[in-house]
Symmetry: C2
Subunit: 345 residues, 2 copies
């Protein structure tokens, strides 16, 4: 299938672009009344994730309604630990919760690391195929997974946490088990991402949501090492690495074999560009709270960000997932401002 | 009263010291069975905070039991918004919760900013006096308050949050009200800190717990500006500013009129020392999770940190409050390792 809009793929590869591509993390989701209508017709979040026709429907909504330059498959990073055998519940207002966790070698019995991806995660692959069929080449489709470190955090801690002290504890008390678990997660993640590409994902993003809780040295040892394995394994399509909060590791991330480095809203685009040069595309990073401003201010803040780029190697996004109570009309102002911006490079 | 151990005050001022001083954030608290015995004899956390004899008792426990070089008055940063009229509840496993919040100019009616500190926060001042009496000069007593930005976060959001998007929203939708509220909080905070010094606090620490959720520019506008007012107003005793997560603002914080800059466990001591020179004392920053290691490893990790100092201008601490399930014996190993370390500067 020929893509009618391949702007984001060209931007990722550093090729010539006529304008900056734009999409939003969590664009398929709670901000859209059309999403809530689908969601409320189902038993819950997990039914939506696990039913390809509904996942495809909400994946495509922001392409139609908001006019983004890419779709991202509607799913969750926690489908991977679940496929391993650690089932999770999504508890209203509290987030994910796992009954079983891995805190010792003995707990490894709760998880399997050698299984058929199609067998346990086929619903995601099916959703990718269905989405591409219905998108009919209008925009590329992004596949994704959590970074091994972030998946490790949930598998050890068993829920979200401000400090993830249970997960970080293992780095001190049993680093061998931590590396063993991280290696196994990495292996499954690579298989899963390759299956997504095989199913039709045009681009891959790896989310390291809990990067910010580790210092630079521990991040290198317990996360970068595994991101490196993934980056070396995924060569079929452009790869984006987004390590939220890893301010002191951005330079090291940019040295991995990826196309694009995602930036959160606290990261300074110009300082990072100066540090890493022009060999990687940067993605981000408007503060999601900027979309609470008036339309005129959203446009101003977006233009200010665009003016800071000084390179064609950018994919526009927010610095975090769009917040649920943001007015979709403000999102449109953000997107339209990017589309109207005249690129200088 | 003459202090028998004034090591931490000399370290803060950059004077000569015979060894590095050491204390822990949250040292008076859940790690000690002696604390839990007092806490469990009362109706709850707030009774403990509000009753000077009990607050003094738990403040002194770590001096006796752990051998730290400073006591910090047992209290909570949220006593300030409460004194303003926004009462909070401490909900088990969920943290603080405020019934009333400030989201508009009209909501300012819920809070008073011009009141007698002695009248509403006299219990803290009384606890300081009682603690000093019972300490009898064994170690200095640290007073504290939350930074205006962090107090603002709670007053607007009404509870803890991963993103504090309600609080950050106001920075875009109504920056005038945000500055108005921050100014008022600052004024009260300065009065409160001066009252603590008057009551006998030998040193002051300001905690900016939610510094890390703002980018560099917004941090300068909505937090540093008010920390600067506090730093210029508090000259009677040494002042420590601890902005957790503000990695890109540490240089700017060190330029404020303070003695000591607190570092979280993700901050690189040597890089920061190289950036700011030797004009400020640094405080921190062992990863609290390091205390889950074996005794030998706790000693190794502590020595590794001490070796990185390369200056006498250090106060040893963790990079975050000690976690509740840490073995107090490991804390002693940490403290004793610091005490045995031979200072080279």
């Amino acid at each position: 299938m020929i893509l009618k809009n391949d702007l984001i793929l060209r931007a990722a590869k550093g090729e010539s672009i006529e304008r900056y591509p734009v999409w939003l993390m969590r664009q398929a989701g709670r901000i859209l009344p059309e999403y809530r209508a689908v969601r409320n017709s189902l038993s819950g979040f997990k039914e939506l994730v696990e039913t390809p026709q509904f996942a495809a429907e909400v994946t495509i909504q922001p392409v139609d309604i908001l006019g983004v330059d890419a779709a991202i498959i509607f799913s969750d990073i926690l489908v991977v630990p679940e496929a391993m055998g650690l089932e999770y519940q999504m508890i209203e207002k509290r987030g994910p919760w796992f009954e079983k966790t891995i805190k010792s070698e003995a707990d490894l019995k709760y998880a399997e690391f050698d299984f058929d991806i199609e067998d346990r995660l086929g619903y995601v692959l099916e959703a990718i195929k269905l989405t591409n069929k219905e998108l009919d080449g209008r925009v590329p489709l992004i596949g994704f997974a959590g970074a091994p470190w972030t998946i490790f955090c949930y598998m050890v801690e068993g829920s979200g946490s401000k400090t993830f002290s249970e997960a970080r504890k293992m780095l001190y008390t049993n680093p061998k088990l931590a590396h063993d678990l991280l290696s196994r997660i990495t292996k499954v993640t690579i298989q899963y991402l390759k299956a997504q590409i095989q199913a039709g994902a045009h681009m891959i993003q790896v989310f390291d949501s809990w990067a910010g809780i580790l210092g630079t040295e521990q991040y290198a040892e317990f996360s970068l090492r595994y991101l490196n394995e993934i980056a070396n394994a995924i060569n079929e399509v452009p790869l984006t690495l987004f390590s939220k909060g890893a301010i002191t590791s951005v330079g090291a991330i940019a040295k991995l074999n990826c196309n694009t480095v995602g930036l959160d809203w606290n990261m300074d685009i110009q300082a990072i560009r100066a540090e890493i040069g022009d060999s990687r595309t940067l993605q981000g990073n408007l503060d999601p709270c900027a979309l609470y401003s008036s339309h005129a201010e959203v446009a101003d803040l977006t233009n200010k960000m665009l003016n800071s780029f000084q390179s064609k190697r950018h994919i526009v996004n927010l610095g975090h997932g769009v917040y649920p109570d943001v007015d979709p009309e403000k999102v449109k102002t953000f997107i339209n401002t990017v589309k109207e911006y005249e690129i200088k490079y």
